[in-house]
Amino acid sequence: MTMCPAYIRYIIIALAFLTMTAAMPVFAQELGPDGAPNPTASVESESKLLQQLPRIEGRIDIPNQREHVLQQPAGRLWDHFHEVTLHWLGAIVILGMIAALGAAYLIMGRIRISKGRSGQRVLRFNSFERFSHWLTAISFVVLGLTGLNITFGKLVLLPVIGPESFSSVAQYAKYVHNYVSGAFVIGLALIVVLWIRDNLPRKVDIDWIKQGGGFIKSKHAPSGRFNAGEKLVFWFALGAGAAVIVSGYLLIFPFYGTNIAGMQIAQVVHAVIAVLFVAVIIAHIYIGTLGMEGAFEAMATGEVDLNWAKEHHDRWLEEQLSRKRLAARSGQTTAAPAE
């Protein structure tokens, strides 16, 4: 074995020098004309930092670590959403829905029981179902009003009652909103468990839609326990409810697992979904009270008129009646003592 030829060693050394001299200008740039390090050589400007990331973050010496964000210009964007976008969206969606329902009432009027009342009653919702519905409904109305107050109160209520009274109203409204949320969660969970089976999509739903959903008087829209419209409300309530619950609890427990951007997104999701939710529920309240004769009693006493059930939930009524007949028949046969 021989050593490396000498010329190879020379080439390696020459290459090493070459790379060093190539690197020299980099060092030279970081030195000022007097040979001292240039203090601005590697400073990144504010605008450059903001181009790289939406926030400028650093290290702080105080215990409140969320303060390590030096600057988040997105705050101004969120301000714009909250003060411009949300105000318009809320006003258009909610007032638009009220206007549309008003027009529907003027044009179509109340949907009557066309054959009139039969006087016979059928149980539609048992007491536990009604309790679950009203738990959700009352908490929703309370949450809706106290929530709308946070966005629209200063435009609507503050000029009327003055800043001091409005401030204490808003303070109580905030606490009510935060704590009543628990009732809404329980109510929604009960509703979902109780009614999810009857709200699964069926073939009859397509027929219901084809027949104009009961809004066209000459046609009959067939339906099981819940018609396609009610099913849409159910699934919307489930989806929107889950979204407002998750985003709402992120807001109630601020900065647990979220940063400033997370809090802003949670608020945007919460507000947009809630506004849509309010509009849909206003329509739900309309059709359940003013819009349709014989509908409200289903949730009030739990019983509906036989003719109402025939017109709006024919398939469900058939099931109920045949079950009743079966029960009656088996009641006769099992009159003898059970074994």
Binding site: N38, P39, T40, A41, S42, V43, E44, S45, E46, S47, L49, I56, E57, G58, R59, I60, D61, I62, P63, N64, R66, E67, H68, V69, L70, Q71, Q72, P73, A74, G75, R76, W78, D79, H82, E83, N149, I150, T151, G153, K154, L158, P163, E164, F166, S167, A170, Q171, K174, Y175, H177, N178, Y179, I252, F253, P254, I260, M263, Q264, Q267
Partner: protein, 198 residues
């Protein structure tokens, strides 16, 4: 009076935190609240810079816009102040503030943050100037005494400047011209919709 502003010359800040301490002392700020803080960027790396940050007293202040009870107001000097009597502690001003200025006495689950506290530019609050009631809620009112904010007044390197926005911008420009560099007036574009061209 003119429009007052804050300017932190990050090329001068030595992260001594004297502004933070002076502020806490001047206003008897409760534990856990820091109206001013120093954030160090690129800590331990080449190009490290520290910036002293508090409320910038923004033009079109986002905190004031989003407040659900409209408890903010802007003085003739451009100082953004708020009323703790009206504040409901919802936390929205913190989400809107580009500079993390609003502070709350408590952690704040279920909306229990307490009344918001922030830098007042040493200008007190809505109560009568320099009264014990004003001091208890908002701290000293140095502006009413013709003094500037304590943080800037006692900055050892004169990194933090407070006063008439046009004058402090001019001072900063002169500095940059003389020394030949400057990393810019931090936060000015976001706060005042204008930077300082040098």
């Amino acid at each position: 009076m003119a429009r007052v502003k804050f300017l932190c010359d990050a090329d001068r800040c030595i992260e001594c935190n004297a502004c933070v301490t002076a502020c806490k002392n001047e206003h008897e700020v409760p534990w856990g609240i820091n109206r001013r803080r120093v954030v160090t960027i690129n800590d331990g790396k080449p190009g490290e810079r520290s910036v002293s940050m508090a409320c910038m007293h923004c033009t079109d202040a986002p905190c004031a816009a989003v407040c659900p009870v409209s408890c903010f107001y802007t003085t003739a000097d451009g100082v953004v102040l708020h009323s703790k009597d009206l504040c409901i502690g919802c936390g929205y001003c913190f989400y809107a503030c580009p500079f993390g200025a609003p502070q709350y006495p408590k952690v704040g689950n279920f909306g229990s943050r307490g009344k918001m506290d922030k830098c007042t530019y040493c200008a007190g609050g809505p109560e009568a100037d320099s009264t014990p009631a004003e001091y208890a809620k908002y701290g000293a009112n140095r502006l009413a005494e013709g003094k500037l904010p304590i943080c800037a007044e006692m900055c050892s390197t004169k990194s933090l400047l407070a006063g008439d926005g046009a004058i402090i911008a001019e001072i900063y420009k002169e500095r940059v011209m003389k020394r030949g560099y400057g990393s810019g007036a931090w936060g000015w574009t976001t706060a005042y919709h204008e930077g300082i061209a040098v």
